[in-house]
Amino acid sequence: MTALQPTLPTADSTPPTDDIDALEVGTTATTASKGRSRIPWRFLGGRALFYLFTLWAAVTINFILPRMMKGDAVTAYLARNRNISPEAADGLRALLGLDTDKSLFEQYIDYWSHLIRGDLGVSLLHGLRPVTEVISQSLPWTIGLVGFATIVSFVIGTIGGAIVGWRRGSRLDALIPITTFLSTIPYFWLGLLAIAVFSVNLRWFPIGKAYGVGMSPELTLEFVGQVIHHGFLPAVTIIIASLGGWMLGMRNMMLTVLDEDYIMVAQAKGMPNRRVLWRYAARNAVLPQIQSFALSIGFIVGGTIVMEMVFSYPGVGKLLLDATNAKDYALMQGVFLVITLSVLIANVLADVAYAFLDPRTRQTGA
């Protein structure tokens, strides 16, 4: 049947009053209206709600964890350290759940009130300094190195995957098993190998830490040079280990997209190959990549912890490990909270980017 546009019937059946073009609406059912909005509020609103819920869940987990540990461990911990100020001791009790005279719910409220004031307790491992201060010293190192390395790896992997997918059947295909193999090597082993080869044997790079011994952070050229020198191996190992995942995902998506008819139409129109590759195929294939990027942020954080242990890098991962070994519970709690918060924020940013890139999220109509 051809696409028929019937005139609206006259006497016998009185349709609703709207002047609807059935073809445009896509159905002859009545009373449909289309919404138009550039900012996908519905989508973002839904995601925001989800993240608030996750934040609440993470905080609650944080609340429950120390209370699951054997009670005497925490009291012994406090008993070991006598020279805490009374306010600090109060804060610690509220955070770690030693107020046995209060009900669980009251403890929960107490916990939240401490959090909102920014009081995460004091760290016994670091000379009774506030946990927030200790963390804020380490956080920039982690975010700087890992953020940089992850973004570089994502960009190289995605662009590489697009090219490998485009040139399917060529020798570039061999890149996929190679990079995947590099990804399945346990990261810590890769890091240790890198140290063994480049630091111990070739002496090109220092063995660990973020900057040389005896230096203090300042914005001089020499200091920045040291940071780059020390950070090279960790960054490169992260990039090599995670490259494979991005490349494989992007290449698979490219192969699926290149099979679509609109690619064939674009080529038949005479569009130059470069445009087809980047503005048509890659543009569509990258959307699931961004989604998986958002999802993998949690795993990237896990990798950070390992990297910082191998390279003795002074970030939050190392902080967590040291705190765990020393049983510095307040610090452990605080670091976990900060890590979860960072992962949530990164997810939010990724979602916002996705919402603007994918036009389908702007739809509100039927």
């Binding site: 049947m1 028929l4 006259t10 059946s13 059935a22 002859t28 449909a32």
Partner: protein, 282 residues
Amino acid sequence: MSLLEFDSVTKVYSVRGAGQIKALDDVSFTLESGQTIGLVGQSGSGKSTIAKILTQLETPSSGEVRLDGSAIPRRGRGLRSYRQQLRMVFQDPFASLNPYHSVRHHVERPLRLDHVVPAVQLDGEVRRLLGRVRLPESVADRRPHELSGGQRQRVAIARALASRPKFLVADEPVSMLDVSIRLGVLNLLAELQRDEGLGVLYITHDLATARHFSNEIIVLNQGRIVESGTADDVILRPTHPYTQELRAASPDPEKFFASASGSGTVSAPATAAVSGTEGGTR
């Protein structure tokens, strides 16, 4: 003789962000066993909604469906026995069969669910059903992807007939088949309808086959019935402007080639299959 009544049914869907959509507006018709009704309309007119309501995959917002005078129960044994009486053949022959299971599984399931025959006779009944739709028994152990489109649709018909229903809803059963085999499948449906005394609701957008196959025709537009009557009346003497446009839109090869070879322009074709002598090719 069984009677299926579709009584003043309205169906409204709420869609997020787009308000409400009225898919059906006060639709009524009656289907008797032994009779075929053709339901005609373009895409989106509400045809599939009627099919879903009849098979209880959707419930009406207002109005009622009655079988032999009593309303369809919503759950329990009553619903189960209603489901046994009314079966559906879907449009897409590949999608309506589970790609993982064999033909035998598809035909046996309704036999088992409704206890149509005792377990020892299952194999024989499967063979008989496949024979009714002119498929050899060797097909029983094949998977859907090993069959052609026409064969798959016959399997779907066999599955529908397994529970010995009184009514059959055929939702565009041949639209996705090659034109050359459509007539074969439709003739099979007609023969089965005669032999088993089924009441058939034949949903289609194709006027020609609707006339070929049905006693009565109902024309649906924007969720409302705009015309109904005997097949010949509706097709040959349509009174409603929508039906007239539908008829006018059907291509007529003879008139088309005649006008193309004569003048330079092409005049609006009229339907050949739906015009001409009365009685058609039943």
